[in-house]
Amino acid sequence: MLSKDPYDILGVAPYATDDEVKRAYRELAKKYHPDLHVDNPLAELAQERFQEIQEAYDTVMQERASGRPHSYQSGGNQSGTYDPFGFGGSYNNQGYQNNQGYQNNYNNYNNYQQRQDQYRGNGSNNDPCNCCMELWCLDSLCECMEAI
């Protein structure tokens, strides 16, 4: 359970973009990664900090994925994390057929379609190959393979 606001732990504002959150996570993770503190007397502290950072990141990303607005009063790990694989120990919500799971699926589907339009819409701009019209043409006989 987090006792601090996850955004404070990561050192970013609640309105930071996803990329900013990810960048902040990467920088902090690099600093406190256990592999870097093997012979360090402060290793235990670094490990705790690392875990805290990991949890904060997971909390923020899950919150954003589910479309819930960030309100820190609720705190900690929200229930309703969709886990069809019964994977991790911390994911103790077994009832993944509940509304939250359904809502997550619906959100995922919608988000996916929105991004699809983004990436397909720009298809012709990104397609460097005129001969085969394939975006990622790796056909060894295709001329476009020769052009760098």
């Binding site: 996803d18 990329d19 959150v21 990810k22 960048r23 996570y25 990467r26 993770a29 990991q54 990141y57 997971d58 990303m61 899950q62 994925a65 694989f85 994977f87 991790g88 997550n104 699926n105 959100n107 995922n108 589907y109 988000n111 996916y112 379609q113 991004r115 699809q116 983004q118 990436y119 397909r120 298809g123 990104n126 460097p128 394939e134 975006l135 990622w136 790796l138 060894s140 393979m145 020769e146 760098i148």
Partner: protein
């Protein structure tokens, strides 16, 4: 343009790794899916990249870039593992001589991979075995089959035992489902004509149903992807997840654009 060349450089880097680690047998197993995994893990772990300019046997006229890293080595190992067990099944089921030849070429080296990644090896072997059995017994259960392939790819996506295991596994799982179902649906007509096994041969979904089925798989896959703290090459990876995987499939276009399909 720059993004495309980086993807191709990873593809070429992977091919070169396969050639150097596994000889021609390895090179022949190259798939695009592994290039995606190589770039995905490369983006997540950001290992040091080895970049070189060179030429390759297939395209001797132009110089190209080869990028590789630790993740390339893993991708090559997984590629060969998959190819080996697949070819083994092909030989045992259909007595396809190509299958025997390839698996003999890779046998010794694959043992090393199996030793290094026993869990992946076991999952690949078991899933392919079960898929092969379903085919032998003519069991028509596309969901079960898709899940098997999903588990296979899900396990392959997990390179390290760390906090990213869960999202990576789930990404691989849903992508595996997509790949299996898309291939089965795309091959359905041809298989029907040839009387070949296809999990949809008795109950085929309508084009609309197929599109929803496949989109759901990729939507779940992409949702996990977006939770990963990836910055390096994220646009290439997104391009593949949201557009690239649909390349060559008939279910991508809306009514307006459907005139252009076929």
């Amino acid at each position: 343009m720059r993004e495309y060349t980086r993807y191709r450089a990873f593809y070429c880097g992977l091919c070169r790794q396969l050639r150097s680690s596994y000889g021609i047998g390895g090179e022949l197993t190259l798939t695009y899916d592994m290039t995606f995994l190589v770039m995905l893990l490369n983006g997540l772990y950001e290992p040091e990249e080895n970049r070189r300019q060179g030429r390759c046997g297939l395209h001797p006229l132009t110089k190209r870039e080869f990028i590789s890293s630790e993740t390339t080595a893993y991708g090559a190992d997984m590629n060969v593992l998959l190819a080996y067990y697949k070819q083994l099944d092909d030989w045992q089921d259909d007595h396809d001589p190509k299958g025997l030849a390839l698996s003999q070429m890779l046998k010794r080296k694959v043992r090393r991979v199996i030793g290094r990644y026993p869990e992946q090896a076991e999952t690949v072997r078991n899933c392919l075995k079960q898929l092969s059995q379903m085919e032998q017994d003519r069991i028509l259960d596309p969901e079960k089959a898709a899940d098997l392939f999903g588990k296979l790819l899900g396990r392959i996506f997990c390179w390290k035992d760390d906090a990213w295991q869960k999202p990576l596994y789930e990404m691989g799982f849903y992508m595996g489902r997509f790949i299996y179902l898309a291939d089965a649906l795309a091959d359905l007509e041809k298989d029907r004509k040839q009387g070949a096994y296809n999990p949809f041969m008795e109950h085929a979904p309508s084009p609309e149903e197929a599109k929803v089925l496949l989109t759901t798989c990729m939507a779940e896959c992409a949702a996990r992807f977006e939770t990963l703290p990836i910055l390096r090459d994220v646009e290439i990876l997104r391009n593949i997840l949201y557009a690239g995987v649909w390349s060559g499939l008939p279910w991508q276009d809306d009514e307006e654009r459907s005139k252009d399909v076929e």
